[in-house]
Structures are given as C-alpha cells and as structure tokens.
C-alpha cells in the first residue's frame, strides 16, 4: 500500500483524538512532578474541549489530503485524451449501504447512552464496529474483483486513483474502527463526562469518514 509510512502517522492523530478522551492525562514518561502537575492541568484546562478542537482541526487536515488527491484526479482526468474507465465493482454499493447503516447505528447507540441505557449503548456500538469491519472487508472484496478482471493499480490512471482513494480511505477508516474499539473497551470509571464525550468525538470522525466515502464514490462514479 502506498505511503504506509505516512498515513498511519495521521491515523495516530485520529486515534489519539478519537479515543484519547480518557480520564487521565497522557503518561508523563517518568517526568518528575508529573503526577500533581496533571491534577492542576486538568483543573485549568477543559479536557473534552481540547479533544473536540483537535478532531475538528484533524478533520479539516484530512479533508485537505483528500481534496488534493481529488484535484489531481480531476485535473488528470480532464487533461487526458485516452482515459480508460474503470467499471466500479457492484459490491461497492453494498459497502456504501453498510457504512451508511453504521452511521445510523452509531447515532442509535449515542441516543441510548443519553438515556443512560448502557447495555443498549454497548450493543449498538458493537454493531457499528462490526459494520465498520464489514465495510473494510467489502472493500477488499472489491479489490479482488478488480484483480480478477486483470485491473491492477498500475494498469491505468483511473485504476491507480481507484486503488489510492480506497486504500487511503480504508486506512483512515481503520483508524476510526480503532477509536470505536477504544471507546467500547475502555473503562470510564470515575469520570462520568468522559464516555459521552469520547463517544461524541468518535462519532464526529465516523460520520466524517462516512461522508468522505460518499464523496469519493460520487467522484469515481461521475469521473468515469
């Protein structure tokens, strides 16, 4: 996968942001005086706001990444005389439905959480996570179908863009799945505010990934 060294680094922003709404400040790595420092810092800085600011800025940044790729797609598509179209594998439509459904179940889970129905929240949150994995698996199937047709990443520019878009989106989405798992497995014991906030932040990212996929799919579909 191209840029594997680079993209996971962005992912770390996302994971830390999406799932980092935990109760304690990040480990100090053995700094002297970090313990009581942390207590004061919590008092002075509203922790949740810091994470939601970061996710908002991170989303803008990731959006720029995909906008740059999209602009390259549009410019090259327009400037090319011999553009070979790639017929999108039909499984993509099923994948899209799965992803949209996952956004829906995520909202249901958050509604349950606001009703303090914790088991219901966990159930729907789990369903969302599973749907996320199903989507990634579906994307892999789409790749397999293309490969079966003999269309590889280097075949033509359209196929290059298809693989790059899906791969980059998939990697970012896996970061979102990581955030979902983090919220699911993390014990939010003594901080009541943290779980809803963490869920909210993860949900922003997840919906963003959802919308981004719809945009990319539209771009690939209309640009063929």
């Amino acid at each position: 996968m191209p840029g594997t060294t680079a993209i996971p680094d962005i992912e770390l922003i996302v994971e830390d942001v999406g799932g980092g709404g935990g109760p304690t400040p990040p480990p100090g790595g053995g700094d002297d005086g970090d313990g009581d420092d942390g207590k004061r810092r919590r008092k002075e800085s509203p922790t949740p706001r810091r994470y939601s600011t970061a996710i908002a800025l991170g989303i803008v940044s990731i959006l720029m990444f995909f906008m740059a790729l999209s602009s390259a797609f549009i410019v090259l598509r327009r400037g090319s005389d011999a553009w070979v179209t790639v017929h999108l594998p039909p499984v993509l439509w099923a994948n899209t439905a799965v992803l949209l459904a996952s956004s829906f179940t995520l909202e249901v889970a958050r509604r349950r959480l606001s009703l303090t129905d914790l088991p219901g929240f966990r159930k729907f949150w789990m369903v969302t996570t599973v749907l996320g994995f199903v989507f990634v698996a579906g994307q892999l199937i789409a790749w397999r179908q293309l490969v079966a047709q003999g269309i590889y990443i280097a075949s033509n520019q359209a196929s290059s863009f298809f693989y790059i878009f899906t791969a980059a989106h998939g990697v970012h989405l896996l970061g979102g799945v990581g955030a979902l798992l983090y919220v699911l497995t993390r014990k939010f014991d003594n901080t009541r505010i943290a779980l809803p906030t963490a869920a909210e932040i993860a949900s922003y990212y997840w919906h963003f990934m959802d919308g981004l996929w719809v945009f990319l799919l539209a771009l690939l579909y209309l640009g063929k």
Binding site: G3, A6, D9, I10, L57, M67, S71, V75, L76
Partner: protein
Amino acid sequence: MGNDDSGANHSETPQTGFLSRYVFSTNHKAIGLNYLWLALFSVFLGMAMSLLMRLHLVWPGMHLPFLSSLGNSPDRYAALATLHGSLMVFLVLTAAPQAGFGNYFLPLQIGAREMAFPVLNLLAFWATVASFVGMTGAFLISPHSGITLWIVSVAIFCAASLLNALNFSVTTIDLRAQGMTLPRLPLTVWAWFINAILGMLIFSILLAACVCLFSDRLLSTHFFPPSYLLASQPGAVVTSAVSILWQRLFWFFAQAEVYIAMLPCFGLVTHLISTFSRKPVWKERLVVLALCGVGVFGFCVWGQHMFSSGMNPFSPLVFSLLASSLGLPATILLVSWLGTLWNARIQLNTAMLFTLGFISLFLSGGLSGIFLARQDLAAAAVSDDFVTGHFHLVMGVAATFAILGALFFWFPKLFGRRLNEPLGKLHFWITFAGVYCVFMPMHWLGLIAHSRISSGSPLASVAAAGSSIRTFITVAMLITVFAQGLFLINFLWSLFRGEKAEECNFWRATTLEWSVPSPPPADDFGPSDPVVYRGAYEFSVPDVAEDFVPQHFAPEQGAKARESGE
C-alpha cells in the same frame, strides 16, 4: 547523523537519568530543546555541504574527499544541492523557529503548563529525527532508490509537521491562561498559531503528493510521469534526467515551505523589535492582520497551483513567485517594524543586531524579488544564480538571522546564562558582511549569464566572465562559514561558563515566560496558575515607574505605580 538516535538505543538501561529526562520526555521544554539541537546539528551539516558545492564549482577538478568517493557525476551534485536544501529548509528553517522555539515558549507565553497532546509531540519529534536520517541516507545510496527514500523522508516529515501543527493550534485555542484573550496574545504566539493552521493545510497536500509520487516510484503508477517534465525542458538541459528530478522535487516542496519558515520569523522579529525598542508594536492589530495575510496568501497562491496542476511536481506552473504574493502583508510588517523603531531608545545588543540584520536582508532580498517577478522564470533555470542569491538572502539567511536573534534573546531563559556579547557582535558583523558578499554577487552573476545567453554568445565566454566572481563568492563564503565557528564556540562556552543570568526577567520584557525562574521549573509556573491582565507590549507606559508593565501584573500593581507617578 543518526548518532543521537542509535546512541539512545544502545544505552537503554533502566535508569531514571538521561533517557526519560531528555530522549523520551514529553515535557514541552525538553522537546523544544531537542528540536533546537537537531537544527543546530543540521545547520552545520548543511553548511558543510554548501562549502563542498562552492569548492566544486570553483575548482571542479579538485579531489574532494567525500564527493569523489561517490563518483563525481552530475546527479551526485544535484543530490548534494537537494540534500543541502532539505536539511536547511526542513530541519533548520522549518523546525527551529516553529517546533523548537515554539514548543518551548508557546506554552510559557500563553500560560499553559504543557502542550495539548504531549505524547503526540514526542512522536512528532522522533518522526522528524527519522526523516532527518532518511534524507541524509538518501544521498549515500544510489540515485534511483535515493529519490524514493528522500520522498519517504519528506512524507514522514510532513506527517510529523501535521502532528505538530495540530498540537500548536489546539494548545493556542484551548489552553490559554485566564485573561489571555486573543488581543493579548504576544505576536510570536500569533505567528506560531497562524503558521500551525497554514501547516495543517499545506502539509496535508504535500503528504498527498508524496503518496502519489511514492506509488509512482514503487508501484509504477502514472500519476506524474517524469517524461512530462523532460518534454518541457529545452533539449540541451536534458543531460541527466535524474539530476533534474532532484531539483524539481526539491523546489516543489520548498515552495510551500517558504511561507511556513518565514511566518514564525516575522513573529519573532516583531517581538524582539518591540522589546529592545522599549516601545509597543506600532499598529499591533494591523500586524496580526498582516500575519494572517501571509498565511492566507501563502495558502492561496501555493494551494491554487497545487490544485490547478493536479499537484504535479513536474509541472512548471508551480514555480510561481512568493515575492509578488507576499508583497502587501510584507510591506505592512516592514512599515510596522520601522514605525516601532522610529524615535525609539534602541538597545543595540546582539539579539537586536540580528533582528535589524533580518530587516536589512529581507528588504534587499525582497527588492531583488521584484526583478525576479518580472523575469520569465521558464527561461531562467531554477538553479540560476540570480534565484539562488535571491532565495538565500530573503529566506535562508534572513530566517537564520531571526533564529539567531531569538536564540540570543531567549538564551538566558533557556539556560540561565547569557551568550557572550562581544563575541556575538563580532560573529554578527562578519556574518552580516559575509552573506552580502556571498549572495549579492550571485545576483550579478545571474544577470551576466542571462544576458550573455540571451544574446547568443557561446557558453564558454559566459563561464569565463563569471569565474572571478565565483572565486570571490567562494572566498567570502569560506570566511562566513568560519565565522560560524565563533558562534559555536560562543554557544558551547556560554552553555557552561557564560555569565550567569538567573534573574527571572533578564531583558525587562513583558511576556509570561519572564515571570518564571530561568531556566523554568518542570511545571513552569509553580503552584498557582498565571493570570493575565494586559496586552503583551506595554512598554514605556506613561506614569509608571518602570518602562514596562508585565502581562501578569494585576491592575492594582499598575495603578499603584501610576498613583506614585501622579
């Protein structure tokens, strides 16, 4: 190069000392200092490379110890130029003023105890070190895999910068102390903040370009075929495709970096001028707007080229000029600096000298930029001497002067000692004269070459006309480089033996970092959180005993002084 990296891994014994305190510390001050050390190392490495290049230019037949073992092919020379540029631009000019000073002083100046995400901060630093190792390594291996490695290193650097930018912006937005409203932010913080926002946008685009380039090279996709580049070159130039590739790739990335590197320098310079003129910044709000303007112009100009060329690094379209777009905000900044200096009781210490040197270089570099904007750049190759001279004056050297000024200014806060003033002034004057002697004749050289080539005379006569100037440049450069030895001696000596400066507010400055001991304690502000009551540049306030009022002085403290005055 990788020494500090590998050395750290070797001494991985379970102990409290060095590792946790310096290498894996998430403290913003430790990370900031680490960036500064990295930049210091890179700047001397990069300078050694420029020395090699100049020697090679003047005496091409000379047996150079390092170069000749790698084969004296043109693409080695181009690779050397690219490596010199990458080290200087990425690891010195981008890392030192933003990540280095910013990490150390941004939390201190806004009254935060830590960056918003300390672990991400540490990760970003080590990613930067990794990209440094990669860029250096790219030169040592074969050209084709070298370019791939270089692209990967740039991608890592972009990712690290993204993390850094995210950290900076969130810290500025959410972690300000009580009373630190936006209009009260010091201009350094404004510059860091705007730069971080700009960085989040630009580095994502660069990262996307890196991904495409990388997949072109490794997965043989065809996003940016280099044949497109070669087709657009005049036939005579296509001697070595690889060497052009090196240059194009470098300029593609460096173009965006210009704004990123200059913005924090503008903030530093404005801050220093106000402090050492003992006057408030003239038209402070306008300066903030101008800084925003630099950011917006920087993004629009560069981003627009990216989008309209489909990010193609080989498209000639991207080599537009910064001078024309930076014109308006740069003029505002310049007017504000001069307005602040006007009728001021200027304290001419070394920090201020470097700041004034920055203005001088920025002005003369900017003037040559006007000429450059009128030239048809497609005709003059990107490696043309005129461009080299202009670029180095306005960006490389000017930014270095801002960094040095900031270092002289903050050294007492960083280490509790001060740099030696007479030695510092000597270093300044030699460097100042030296860089003018190096880069001004380059403009001339570029003009000679250009006029001769366009009038159709043979290349040999062009080369002959320039040779004496080239020798002059090289000699001037040797002197300048050795003057940097003075700085190194001053730096190392002052670190251990320098005059003690342990009082909190050594320069009688107003911002929050001067309210804490030097060097600052681990938790920065001690038991109580700082509270801010006033703007960042209250110098020479009438009816006050001292000629400055620090930001953390409560109104009663100011009022008391005023009553005693009345």
